[in-house]
């Protein structure tokens, strides 16, 4: 069997990149078919194929690392760069929505009654459920750090408890936020206030769900002994992403919920 004279990972040929691109095509075309022709077939196919590609691609990364040992320190360094760059790109994504919010709220137009919140809009009380949600996410940041320390110390039981608690806190946040959405007296159609509020908090909520899913996969891998005290980058990546989601919430809370009320 040939051996490589370098520490990088030359991956096996894989169909997932091109299938992933096709899934993106189906999803975007599916959105067009839904918006303009009221048909959800393509969109469903797109989302389903996206899910299948993600499951199999990341399953293969786990196989290549935990089972085949291809993730040398060099490879891990590249993955760290990659995750940081991805999170940075997400930060810019949210920056756009914050820009839109401040553009509309710093100089409210006459159509809004020249004030922010606009005339007739009754904003959510920032000291009620939103404050609780802030506490929940901050606490989950503590528990995920606890889980990390437990992993590096080789304490399996504590790591499982801490990570489970983190995920439960994430679900609690999502449930409370869903309830808030239902109970709010304004909708996304209520002027630019509704647009900026629900698009920004909505995308944040989606990222909480993505982060919770990532952490859940890590929990399953933790239970299955995939992580070692020295090598557990999948968990670290999930924890970074989770902290990012927490920070975005803090900015949302301070600007839209508190200042904007």
């Amino acid at each position: 069997m040939a051996h490589q004279a370098h520490s990088y990972h030359m991956v096996d040929p894989s169909p997932w990149p091109i299938f992933g691109a096709a899934a993106a095509l189906l999803t975007t075309s599916g959105l067009i078919m839904w918006f303009h022709y009221s048909s959800t077939t393509l969109l469903t196919m797109g989302l389903l194929s996206m899910l299948l590609v993600m499951l199999q691609w990341w399953r293969d990364v786990i196989r290549e690392s935990t089972f085949q040992g291809h993730h040398t320190p060099t490879v891990q360094k590249g993955l760290r760069y990659g995750m940081i760059l991805f999170i940075t790109s997400e930060a810019f994504f949210f920056l756009g929505f914050f820009w839109a919010f401040f553009h509309s709220s710093l100089a409210p137009t006459p159509e809004l009654g020249g004030q922010w919140p606009p005339t007739g809009v009754k904003p959510l009380n920032p000291l009620e459920v939103p404050l609780l949600n802030t506490a929940i996410l901050l606490a989950s940041g503590v528990t995920v750090t606890w889980a990390h320390h437990s992993i590096t110390e080789g304490n399996r039981k504590q790591a499982i408890h801490a990570l489970t608690l983190t995920i439960l806190l994430g679900f609690y946040f999502t449930a409370l936020q869903a309830m808030e959405y239902h109970e709010a007296s304004f909708s996304i159609a209520d002027s630019v206030y509704g647009s900026t509020f629900f698009v920004a908090t909505g995308f944040h909520g989606l990222h909480v769900i993505i982060g919770s899913s990532f952490l859940t996969v890590c929990l399953l891998r933790l239970i299955k002994f995939h992580f070692t005290p020295n090598h557990h980058f999948g968990f670290e990546a999930a924890a970074w992403y989770w902290h990012f989601v927490d920070i975005i919430w803090l900015f949302l809370y301070m600007s839209m919920y508190w200042w904007g009320s």
Binding site: M1, V11, D12, P13, S14, P15, W16, F19, A22, A23, L25, L26, S29, M33, Y37, T41, L42, M45, G46, L48, S49, L52, V53, Q56, D60, R63, E64, T66, F67, Q68, G69, K224, F225, H226
Partner: protein, 87 residues
Amino acid sequence: MWRNLLVRGPSLRQVSQRTISTASRRLLENRVPEKQKLFQEDNGLPVYLKGGIMDGLLYRVTMGLTVFGTGYVLYELMMASMPKKQK
């Protein structure tokens, strides 16, 4: 600590180990070495098919969905780009 000194019965640790049946104990064992052996087997299979029959099945389902879907997109695009016949 005192309980271990005073009581002669099974310790808490022994009781918790005893109550797990053999079948579920298998789930709590480290099976990574088995997986490592499976995925390091020199059988020429690429990683996305190396896990067994389910891999091939899942691959074919994904391919079917994306290939058929791409064809469908092109069909719908063609239909959408042709003007509707008006009297």
